[in-house]
Amino acid sequence: MVEKVEKQALATAMERILKQVEPQWLKEIRIQAWQRANQLELPRVDKIAYKDWPQFITSKTIIKQQKDIDAQQQIEYQLSNYADHYSKKLAKSMQEKGLKTYTFKEAIQLVPQILKDQLIKMLKQANTKTEAYQIALMTSGWLIKVPDNVEIDEVLTILTDQASDQQTDYCNQTIVILGKNSKLKIMHEIASTPQSASPTHIGVNITLHANAQLQYIGLDQLASNFGYLKRTAHLATASQLNWQLVDLSKGNLISECTSHLIGAGSESKINVISITSQQQQHGFNTKLLNYGHHSKGEINQRGVLLDASKLVFNGIGKIYHGAHGTYANQENRLMMLSSHASGDANPILLIEENDVVAGHAASVGQIDKQQLYYLMSRGLSKAMAQKLVVTGFLSKTIDSSIDQALAQRILGKIEEKLVNG
């Protein structure tokens, strides 16, 4: 039933998008993606039965509602995108160094070749229905490019807000390209406000050329009933990518993050923090694929479960034949704060090569009673002590290289979620 309704809604959305004024090459890519989507299956996410949830169905009523986004924000984002509204406040130093940022529409006009190459590459690699739909139906997003040999030390802050009460279909793509020997830090906040039944689809596509370095912080605070986040990176020789994903979403969520370690000596770390509460169900597919020799990958996932929520961590490390001297490690840890919650920690290793060091660990436990007792014996209330222990558990997964102020902001948001659910 859901499927039938969704199919109609999707077809209507596709029709509407194809009627837009867009160059022919883009329409062709959309149509190809649409055709592929109809042949492909939904992504496989072990141990979470999400395929019956409404994922594409969208609310029919469009309520036009003005919202002053700038006034609501506590901090000023350099790039923000609220539904169709874009705003750009790039730091001067970044502009001077040559950082390029384009909205989706600007990219079509100003750098069509780069956008086209990216979309074709993404389409080629799309092996699930959801990914292909995200390309066919993409309506907004950013293209960010750092030229070769440019190092940017400040953090580029981006807000992607669905405005889920305004738009029916929402597929957003952020494309990031780092040239050779370049360096960038991104703080990407993802939100959908206010709470609504509209699903959210957001993709992040990263390409790192040789020796490039990127730190990507994703702070996910979706309020939509269903969110699908797909983050993918391709790493060339000796490039480095640190993902720091913090999931505080309030609806159901499927979050996939993949690093393709293609170049020799490339390195990627994926840190994931998730808190689930109430009836929320969150499923993570966190993948490291080692193709290049001497590539190095590390996954650290930590989650806290409250109420009757469900949290599934699938960590997948795959080492391809020929990837000599690779290193792949992962840790998946869950803390259960409620006996009605359901947690899954599944660390999976797929290895086709012998000259490797690969390991994984998983653990599940309750709150450390000794730590709790220690704090309470120092005069803290139980609730406060519990909050501290839990925050301490999660903060171990916050990378030490992250800017202090940002780390504080993340911790603040974590505490908010622990208190408010």
């Binding site: 020929g322 999976i348 290895i351 012998n354």
Partner: protein, 467 residues
């Protein structure tokens, strides 16, 4: 060196001989409802068993292959011989067993083992148990050790009470097939409070080509009783494939103890697709000790359902896969009661193009407060032709539990190798020593003569494996 290596590695599978024993009864190739009626009639079974078999056959027809694990599409079930009986009788005395069958088992060492000190010993040849003995002392203690077919006739109530209670036909396709055509296997009942003083042993041998062996083992360890059971499996080499699809059910009642040891050394044309499941009631202990050295494809994930308060389940396993062998094994620990504990230790070695996969499942159900689980998977990949997947699932539905899982995959430690070689030990000997110490936690748990045999087999398998 290389010439020597090639000679060593090409050495034949030790148990690869076969003898031409003509079966006295065979249902021929293929499977149908008529074949199942034939099997049941030949065994002179009660009507309920025939009904059970036919229902299981219907389930089998409806079921698909598992959606995970190795490819089984080359397994030719249409040409399989599903039931073969080599002789009409069961023999109490080893001397009476027909000479040819006896020669086979002599080469496998059955009577020798028994002569030494083993409690009872049975041997299954194709579908039927041909030789069976149990020391008088054990019989007087009230211990029942017989083949499963005889148990159905001689202990109908006990049999019906426990048969098929843990493994239902719809568990998986090959459990359904086994339920339809099962034959042979061991039946053991240990009365309350009785300790079986020595391990009980069984041997399973597939001789003819294209044969399916569907043994059905049922063990009941009554309250406070204690049992150790050991089984070994071999088969000759043919060009065509054979199938071993066993179902084993072990019930350990309150305060009981059972250790079930398997050394599977099938030749490389045998598909070994087994379903092994145990339940442990209040404060009972169930231990699986599982060694997989041979076969073409093995799929086996023994489980312990920890159904009673304070029950404990363990799995200790090794797998060695070479030359295209796929060993897809693992363990399942299902914590269904408070204060239960489990431990899984899995050691795997892949070499010369073999694949060793670990597939596990640890589940803490809602009512499992105070339970603990520990999982450890270590793999050595000897060369760059070999592969290993580690796929553990850990599902937790209770907040008052603790689970730790660790796994490591690597090649032979160069540090260790270098250390040994710098002491004047040859590379091949040093490699063997490292592998032996890697599997030692397993071998030290085996009865002495099995440990010796296993060490020998591993040394034999490891010859020429320096990459």
């Amino acid at each position: 060196m290389s010439e020597l290596e090639s000679i060593m590695t090409d050495e034949d599978y030790e148990y690869g001989f076969h003898d031409d024993v003509k079966p006295v009864f065979s249902t021929g190739r293929g499977l149908s409802e008529a074949v199942i009626r034939q099997i049941s009639a030949a065994k002179n079974e009660p009507a309920w068993m025939l009904t059970y078999r036919l229902a299981a056959y219907q389930t089998y027809l409806k079921m698909n292959e598992a959606n995970f694990g190795p490819d089984l599409s080359k397994l030719d079930l249409a040409n399989m011989k599903f039931y073969q009986k080599a002789t009409d009788k069961k023999y109490r005395d080893w001397e009476d067993v027909p000479a040819k069958i006896k020669t086979t088992f002599d080469r496998l060492g059955v009577p020798e083992a028994e002569r030494k000190y083993l409690a009872g010993s049975s041997a299954q040849y194709e579908s039927e148990v041909v030789y069976h003995n149990i020391q008088k002392q054990l019989a007087t203690m009230g211990i029942i050790f017989t083949d499963t077919d005889s148990a159905l006739k001689e202990y109908p109530e006990l049999f019906k009470k426990w048969f098929g209670k843990l493994v239902k036909p719809d568990n998986n396709k090959y459990a359904a097939l086994n339920s339809a055509v099962w034959s042979g296997g061991s039946f053991i009942y240990v009365p309350a409070g009785v300790t079986v003083p020595m391990p009980i042993q069984a041997y399973f041998r597939l001789n003819a080509e294209n044969t399916g062996q569907f043994e059905r083992t049922l063990i009941i360890v009554d309250e406070g009783a204690h049992l150790e059971y050991v089984e070994g499996c071999t088969a000759p080499q043919y060009d065509s494939d054979s199938l071993h699809a066993a179902v084993v059910e072990v019930n350990v009642l309150a305060n009981g103890y059972c250790r079930y040891t398997t050394i599977q050394n099938w030749s490389d044309n045998v598909y070994s697709l087994e379903t092994k499941r145990a339940q442990a009631l209040d404060n009972a202990i169930m231990e699986w000790v599982d060694g997989n050295l041979g076969s073409k494809v093995t799929m086996k994930y023994p489980s312990v359902y920890l159904n009673g308060y304070g029950a404990r389940g363990t799995m200790l396993s090794i797998a060695l896969a070479s030359n295209g062998i796929i060993s897809d094994t693992g363990a399942q620990m299902i914590h269904n009661a408070p204060n239960t504990s489990s431990s899984i230790v899995s050691k795997s070695i892949a070499r010369t193009g073999g694949s060793v996969n670990y597939r596990g499942n640890v589940k803490f159900a809602r009512n499992s407060a105070g339970s603990l689980a520990h999982v450890e998977c270590d793999t050595i990949i000897m060369d760059d032709q070999s592969k290993s997947d580690t796929i553990p699932y850990n599902e937790i539905l209770n907040s008052d539990v603790a689970m730790e899982h660790e796994a490591k995959v690597s090649k032979i430690s160069e540090d260790q190798l270098y250390y040994l070689m710098s002491r004047g030990i040859s590379q091949s000997k040093a490699t063997e020593m490292i592998v032996m110490s890697f599997v030692e936690p397993f071998t030290k748990e085996l009865p002495m003569e099995y440990a010796v045999e296993l060490n020998r087999l591993i040394a034999f398998e490891m010859e020429g494996s320096i990459g």
